[in-house]
């Protein structure tokens, strides 16, 4: 699907801040409020805009600080469906937050979020490695998130400019 330049602008603006007022978006792209609403609806209907979510720095909350692991998975692709079938069998687990098909030394990159290391360990050994096509897994635990989806956690963005120049 091809977007007009203004639709593209709208996507970019909402990607940075999905809570911005429609009126402000309209001004920024030089459209009327109605035209902007219509464009956003079109983007939503076509699943270009899939969902509006919130980026949370969970590490700040002691009780909820979960654990994230990235697992490199080697699999045997199947004739006719390639990697898609095994990928689907993996991404259907609610613990799995992302699955990507990769080039390089392994096939699928699986990102898992769990409450504890035990929980993730048991997922890997009981559910993931037991799948037929899975040949091997390598699990990496994330120790600290510095930057996530373009957002730097704990960044101090102080304006260093002089007030009038």
């Amino acid at each position: 699907m091809k977007l007009t330049q203004k639709e593209m602008e709208i996507v970019e603006i909402l990607e940075k801040d999905s809570r911005i007022e429609i009126e402000d978006v309209a001004k920024m792209v030089q459209l009327s409020k109605e035209e902007t609403e219509e464009a956003i609806k079109k983007l939503e209907d076509n699943k270009i805009i899939v969902r509006y979510i919130t980026v949370v720095d969970w590490a700040k909350l002691e009780e909820n600080a979960g654990i994230t692991a990235m697992i490199d998975v080697k699999v045997t692709p199947k004739r006719g469906v390639g990697f898609d079938e095994i990928a689907e069998r993996i991404y259907r687990f609610t613990e799995v937050s992302s699955v990507y098909l990769m080039s390089g030394t392994y096939d699928l990159s699986v990102i898992i979020e769990g409450k504890s290391m035990n929980e993730i360990a048991s997922f890997v050994s009981n559910k993931l490695s037991t799948l037929d096509s899975v040949v091997s897994t390598t699990t990496h635990f994330i120790l600290k998130k510095y930057k996530h989806d373009g957002i730097i956690f704990d960044s101090v963005n102080k304006d260093k400019r002089i007030v009038v120049s």
Partner: protein, 402 residues
């Protein structure tokens, strides 16, 4: 012994007026919680790849002087950049000088061409340094005032009216600080015709040349017959968000270039070496970041201009730079009064238009190089301020009646 002004200071310097921007800075600097639309520089920090290149230059020990005109590698990059981005070709060996900001480039340009009493046509409203720069070089600044009705674009006929025997050059800034107005190709061609007819030089300050939003940008020397009579001034401050690095450049025909180089080598030696290494990186790999910044400024410009018009401050759509220049005439206040009261009452700093020349009166310069959240808050406060002025005005009218 105490020095007395009268006996020691140069007459020229004594006659210079202090910058109106400076005065406003002093007023705003001590206040808490100020939202500033008074800032004449990008809100972006220089891109990391550029900063990293400077760090690397320091680690490698590049801490000595460079050639007077700047690193040859940088001049070659500038030459490529001018060719590619602005369709004009300059020789890196003989027509380009790397300067300490565009400001120094203006200074050496003036000093290279002016004899005492020579006239330079300065188009108002303009950056606060222009007239002092002309005067410090011994010249006389002849001011021409652009009009709101023409979106602050100069008309060639206005220039023609003030040309005399002593006119040597026109100082042009497009896109303009403070109005944001930009001359398109056709308008530049008309201006070019006048300069050719009267055999004038143009000092073209194109420091905002990267920051244009609607029409395609035309660099003056790219117009036929203009390269030989243009001193083109640009730099890294605005387009590449590198204000604090103090790095600019000036391109001109060899004769003028070698004259400017004489002044530069005696007065400055060379621009900062590590900044020059950073600039090489900016030109080599900075394009996509510049494009992103332009996109972001365009959105903010659209937002703020629309918002000003909505709350009753008429504002033309500026074609470039990052300034909106709305009219505040409807409030009945002078631009100084408006800016001062707005700052004291609502904590929003703007620059009164009259500091950029008489024709700026009745307007305020608002930089939109701030986050959209800041702009939203500023608009909210300015709106509240306007409503307050309105209520005051109404009650004054009431009092008169009774």
């Amino acid at each position: 012994m105490k020095l007395t002004k009268h006996s020691y200071l140069s007459k020229t310097v004594q006659d210079l007026k202090p910058s109106g921007i400076r005065k406003f800075f002093d007023l705003a600097a001590g206040m808490e919680g100020v939202i500033s639309l008074g800032v004449g520089e990008p809100d972006f920090v220089t891109s990391w790849s550029v900063r990293e290149a400077a760090i690397n230059a320091l680690e490698q020990g590049f801490t000595s002087y460079t050639a007077n005109a700047g690193l040859l590698e940088l001049r070659q990059e500038i030459s490529n950049y001018m060719e590619k981005q602005f369709k004009v070709s300059y020789s890196p060996e003989s027509e380009i000088i790397v300067t300490v900001g565009a400001s120094q480039a203006i200074d050496i340009a003036m000093r290279a061409i002016l004899d005492p009493g020579d006239e330079v046509i300065v188009i108002e409203p303009c950056f606060v340094s222009y007239i002092p720069m002309v005067e410090l070089a011994g010249g006389k600044a002849i001011q021409v005032q652009t009009l709101k009705e023409n979106d602050f674009k100069i008309l060639p006929s206005q220039i023609e009216e003030v040309i005399t025997e002593r006119t040597k050059a026109i100082l042009l800034c497009s896109p303009n600080n403070p109005t944001g107005s930009m001359l398109n190709k056709k308008e530049l061609e008309e201006l070019a015709a006048i300069t050719q007819k009267y055999d004038l030089l143009v000092i073209a300050d194109e420091i905002y040349g990267e920051l244009v939003y609607d029409e395609e940008y035309t660099s003056l020397p790219s117009i036929s017959g203009m390269k030989e009579r243009t001193i083109l001034i640009s730099g890294f401050s605005k387009g590449f968000a590198m204000t604090g690095w103090r790095l600019g450049f000036v391109c001109s025909p060899e004769e003028i270039s070698s004259a400017m180089l004489k002044i530069h080598q005696y007065a400055m030696m060379c621009a900062s070496t590590m900044a020059q290494y950073a600039a090489i990186e900016a030109l080599k790999n900075g394009r996509s970041e510049v494009d992103e910044m332009v996109k972001s400024y365009r959105r903010r410009r659209n937002y703020i201009v629309d918002s000003f018009n909505e709350i009753g401050l008429t504002c033309h759509m500026p074609g470039g730079a990052f300034y909106a220049f709305p009219s505040i005439e409807s409030t009945g206040l002078t631009s100084q009064e408006f800016a001062e009261q707005l700052l004291k009452q609502e904590g929003v700093a703007v620059v009164p238009g009259d500091v950029f020349g008489k024709s700026g009166e009745g307007h305020i310069r608002c930089s939109y190089a701030s986050s959209i959240e800041q702009l939203q808050e500023a608009i909210k406060r300015i709106k509240r301020f306007l409503e307050f002025l309105q209520i005051n005005e109404n009650s004054r009218q009431e009092n008169k009646k009774s």
